[in-house]
Amino acid sequence: MAGGIATALGAKSIRGNQRINNATTESPWVRRLIIGTGLFYFTIFLLLPLGAVFVEAFRKGVDAYLAALVEPDAMSAIKLTLITALVSVPLNLVFGVSAAWAITKFNFPGKRFLITLIDLPFSVSPVIAGLIFVLVFGAQGWFGSWFLDNDIKIIFAVPGILLATIFVTFPFVARELIPLMEAQGKEEEEAAIVLGARGWQVFRYVTLPNILWGVIYGVVLCNARAMGEFGAVSVVSGHIRGETNSLPLHVEILYNEYNFAAAFAVASLLAVLALLTLLIKTYVEWKAAQVNAQHKED
């Protein structure tokens, strides 16, 4: 009896609390439905496939898993993917920071148009991105015969893969920085200039510290895409094993050869990479929030 009263009282007081927050809370079944739907999608579309990758990867045991990764073609795929990321990410970093700096701190005609152009690789299908380079640099393309005569390989070689990857990852850093720098405005830079700072000094001591975490965030996303790109790279690769096969292409080849354990072993590398990226991303977001909070206190 006593317990019943206590529960009733408790329930009443909770209900009382709820009434205060009525505007921001939904009734229990709506909440359950929304959370349930979220969890359902999360499990089906994210957790299950991710788990499946690792389960399949280790199906034939740890030895088979490791053997698939140290196999020469796999090693060369890993190497190619690392080189691709090492080249495309720094280039996009330099481009992204300078583009965002130019767009947000200065006024010039055609600014909106430039932003739209930077977004282009987001809206173009990766297959088209690859075909563009085949049309321009392929043997039947505009400059193809000249490159061929001078023995310079672009398409179906590493440079073509780099070009395609740079194209698809082009907007990542710039797109990350433009909203951030627009929100920050240019008062601090103006103040620095009034105090006698020169262009490079303004960038180095005022702008860069403000956007540092945004830059890192952009680089992390750019890197993830550079390593994971399939479509565009597939078109320009030529699929030469041990030479122009990146990690994602290698996964497809292994799968098509009934080498399921090896295919998923290599895929699990990419999955681990994605998880690492997420971890760094979360850390960077947390760090950025901290810096922002500090900024406001100052």
Binding site: K79, L82, I83, L86, V87, V134, F137, G138, A139, Q140, G141, G144, L148, D151, K153, I155, F156, V158, G238, H239, I240, R241, G242, E243, I253, Y255, N256, E257, Y258
Partner: protein, 336 residues
């Protein structure tokens, strides 16, 4: 800050080393651009040939392979993929490369047997026990049968499939082009998925479990049974099929530039030797060599075969009539 600069310097150094080590090549690189189902065949053959070449000349070969739908691969070679040799699914794809001046026009006469060192044919792969009772080509056209075959625009195997069905209809009592067109149209009405290559179609049928029957290369059908277990699929051999001659050729423009003509020529000729023929037979390709063919005759079903020259007057004509822009295949698909 100093440590950051140091690590940056290290990163740049490491990057430079990676690029340099990527460029260093001690051995002779050699590229064979092939079609989809030959992956396992050339994996074995490349190892054996590299060994043979090393013994004979002392040169270490680094043989690379690229696989995909035959038409797509030909396109890549035309677009500049530096293939020393092409080993494609059919003569027309080699002709397409020859038309661009990369291969001499008379390539088909440069090696024995129409430059096709091994042959194959087209058979059906069905689910275990053949639940839909598929026996011959006309069964594929029946309503309610789900058929899987690749796209003839990109896949060589798919073009053989198409012509095998057409030829079968022509050779039936009272067969003519009108009846053949009817049969093939009805088969394509039953097609659920058109993948770009034979291997894609095979995984669609076996892994994704789509369809009742896969129209397949004979070698591909045997391979899938070997890899995936005889308890899952059966092979059905139709009463009549086509003799598929996958063609091989040296890519003249590339070997002249790279100075690899000798090894390229030897590579293709080695396919005709008893050793090469035996490797082909082991991977379920029908060998040309009579003795090897006799040795492996138990592996292949006896089936009546017609050639493309007999029925269609050669690849050039067949390609234009059936697979060119606005050709018979396009008309059939548009009607579908």
């Amino acid at each position: 800050m100093a440590s950051a600069r140091k690590s940056l310097r290290l990163a740049v150094l490491g990057f430079a080393v990676a690029i340099i080590s990527f460029g260093v090549k001690a051995d002779t690189d050699f590229l064979n651009v092939s079609y989809d189902p030959t992956r396992e065949l050339y994996k074995d053959f490349n190892a054996v040939f590299a060994n043979h070449w090393k013994k004979q000349t002392g040169e270490t070969l680094n043989i690379k392979a690229s696989h995909g739908g035959s038409g797509k691969q030909a396109r890549a070679v035309i677009d500049g993929l530096q293939a020393d040799v092409v080993t494609l699914a059919l003569a027309y794809d080699v002709d397409a490369i020859a038309q661009k001046g990369l291969i001499a026009p008379d390539w088909i006469k440069r090696l024995p047997d129409n430059s096709a060192p091994y042959t194959s044919t087209i058979v059906f792969l069905v689910r275990k026990g053949n639940p839909k009772n598929i026996k011959d080509w006309n069964d594929l056209a029946k309503p309610g049968i789900e058929v899987v075959t690749p796209n003839p625009k990109t896949s060589g195997g798919a073009r053989w499939n198409f012509l095998a069905a057409w030829g079968y209809a022509l050779k039936q009592p009272g067969g003519n082009d009108q009846k053949a067109r009817e049969l093939v149209t009805n088969i394509y009405k039953n097609v659920k998925v058109l993948d770009s290559g034979a291997r894609g179609s095979l995984t669609t049928f076996t892994e994704r479990a789509i369809g009742d029957v896969l129209i397949s290369w004979e070698n591909e059908a045997y391979l899938s049974i070997k890899e995936l277990g005889p308890d899952k699929f059966d092979i059905v051999t139709p009463s009549l099929s086509i003799l598929a001659e996958p063609s091989v050729a040296v890519v003249d423009k590339v070997v002249e530039k790279r100075g690899t003509r000798k090894v390229a020529q030897a590579y293709l000729e080695y396919l005709y030797t008893p050793i090469g023929q035996e490797i082909a037979a082991r991977h379920y390709y029908r060998p040309r060599n009579k003795e090897i063919a006799a040795k492996y005759s138990g592996n292949f079903a006896k089936v009546k075969l017609f050639t493309i020259d007999q029925v269609f007057g050669g690849w050039d004509k067949a390609q234009k009539t059936y697979f060119g822009d606005g050709g018979v295949f396009d008309q059939i698909i548009a009607k579908k």
